[in-house]
């Protein structure tokens, strides 16, 4: 058994720095490269792509990432674990295989994890007493069933461990939990059992810390932000883990950013619910047991983590069509910038009203005055400029489209000192909304195959 296993994060979401995976394998010694591509609504975007072309439906950035790290995988034995498969993990594996095939003597063994995709089974599941009720509203999924675009269960570490055990050096999953991508390699290397609650929980905490990439190593860090060096060359994080569940978070030497107790604390509280119960398919981690200590420059030692058995449910992420929206903006300028923007807002509302358009929601914000902090921002009547930001939402596409024609006229027929309209008419956007639900674990059966 290795004494220390190093898992490095190379991607915090689909759209993250394309060069980060290569820098992670070249910047120092690592055993695993972990790439997280899936946010809540990513699956529905991928489902739409797959409907247009059955060979798509996965995070295509991953193919480029694999190309850039191929020498490390083939020559130095670095393994890659990624949830890049989206709604089509097999097609993703095929694309990666063709990248590997370009190198002679290539020894890629690609583990493909499927079984998370519930879209084709939805009617059957609902008919058999799985209402997939919305966790926030309690509504059954049947109320939006005909508008569903994708439905995936969040699956845990077991199928990834199985793929690694089967000799895979690249593991591609669909909707795995982000944290399982980090925990599974540790579980595989250290042989943690299915009831090693504290170690499994430690692996989950390690995953939570690095799953957002550089957001734990100096990016988006409020604490002493001006002193954080060289964010242009920010080092993405890695964990050096031991079999007892303790680990050090660090980054490669010579990179920018910072790994310190405050940067790790900020990431730990990010998107946190009840800290006593961070629920995953494998284990419930207790974030109130985490101990942090600075362990040299850009090194934080994490220890003390306790875990407990998980529930018998899996979370399901459903995406469904939920109408249309558009947001238009204009910039009003001093003097009395805010009052001008407020006058324009009143005029716009009156005109929309007169047109008889129905909206489910209209929201006005005054950017530069109160858009993000509301009344807490205080009196901003003397602001040099204020952006009027006017958004509408409706299930009626024509109403939203009609709204988009009402912004530009204000430039000549509304309040004065207005600018910033060069972008043209706002775009109408279809809303794909997120429906969180739970399902019995027993009905979701992940499958693993290995392609070489």
């Amino acid at each position: 058994m290795k004494e220390i296993v190093r898992v490095a994060a190379g991607q915090g979401f689909w759209g993250d720095d394309l060069d980060a995976p290569r820098r992670q394998v070249e910047g120092g010694q690592i055993d695993y490269l972990m790439l997280d591509y899936l946010a809540e609504v990513t699956m529905s975007i991928l489902q739409k792509q797959k409907e247009r072309d059955p060979t798509l439906g996965y995070a295509r950035d991953f193919v480029g990432a694999m190309e850039s790290v191929l020498p490390a995988v083939l020559d130095r034995g670095v393994k890659v674990v990624a949830n890049a498969g989206g709604v089509n993990p097999r097609a993703c594996a095929e694309a990666v295989r063709s990248v590997g095939a370009q190198r002679r003597g290539s020894k890629l063994r690609i583990g493909v994890v499927t079984g998370d995709d519930l879209l084709g089974r939805l009617d059957d599941l609902i008919a058999h007493g799985h209402p997939l009720a919305n966790m926030e509203t309690g509504e059954p999924l049947s109320s939006v069933r005909e508008r569903v675009l994708s439905a995936n269960a969040y699956i845990g570490s077991e199928p990834i461990v199985e793929a690694l055990h089967g000799g895979a050096n690249v593991v591609i999953t669909g909707r795995s939990t982000d944290t399982a991508l980090t925990m599974a390699p540790l579980r595989h290397e250290f042989g943690w059992g299915a009831e090693s609650w504290d170690q499994l929980a430690a692996g989950i905490v390690a995953g939570h810390i690095i799953e957002c990439g550089a957001q734990c190593s100096g990016g988006n860090c409020l604490y002493d932000w001006k002193s954080i060096p060289d964010l242009a060359n920010v080092g993405y994080p890695l964990v050096e883990a031991r079999a007892d569940g303790t680990f050090v978070v660090t980054k490669h030497p010579g990179t920018g950013g910072r790994v310190s107790v405050p940067t790790i604390k900020e990431q730990l509280v990010y998107e946190m619910g009840d800290p006593h119960s961070y629920i995953t398919p494998d284990v419930i981690a207790d974030f109130t047991t985490i101990r942090l200590a600075q362990d040299g420059e850009d090194r934080v030692l994490v220890s003390g983590i306790r875990g407990k058995p998980p529930t018998d449910k899996l979370k399901v992420s459903v995406a469904y069509r939920a109408g249309f929206k558009a947001v238009g903006t204009l910039v009003y300028v001093w003097p009395e910038a805010l009052e001008k923007a407020q006058a324009a807002d009143r005029i716009l509302r009156e005109r929309l009203d007169r047109l008889g358009l129905e909206f489910d929601r209209i929201l006005t914000e005054f950017v530069g005055a109160n858009a993000t902090h509301g009344a807490l921002a205080g009196d901003r009547r003397d602001a040099p400029e204020v952006q009027l930001r006017f958004g509408v939402r409706s299930t009626d596409r024509t109403a939203v489209e009609r709204f988009t024609r009402e912004i530009a006229p204000l430039v000549l027929n509304g309040p004065p000192s207005v600018t910033g309209f060069a972008g043209g008419r706002p775009k109408v956007e279809e809303i794909v909304a997120y429906w969180p639900a739970l399902i019995d674990k027993s009905v979701v059966k992940p499958k693993v195959e290995i392609i070489s």
């Binding site: 409020l222 900020e266 009840d274 006593h276 929201l363």
Partner: protein, 117 residues
Amino acid sequence: MKVRLLDIAHARSGDKGDTANVGVIALQPRWYDVLEQFVTRSKVADHFRGMIDGDVERYELPNLNALNFLLHGALDGGGTLSLKTDAQGKVYSTALLRMVIDVPDAEAKRLELPAAK
């Protein structure tokens, strides 16, 4: 003595559906007790009155010198439904740091808390 949270804490926020979470972390470990004592659930609910539609929950993480607040109904429906600039609650963090709390003078002096300007 009046103390502004920005001078004694840092914070990060995020989203889960229509709920924003704000983790607020004492800048010095010994200041955590001040957060725990004075940044109460009801004070935070008052602070955000008019900005959020739902309840506020508070959790304590003394191990991280931090409190975690859940602000329900904070994101105009949340996710892609929201029309807000801050649809994912990324900057509720600094909105909470605007809060001013009233700490008894003796305690403020003992802990060397910076006074609000």
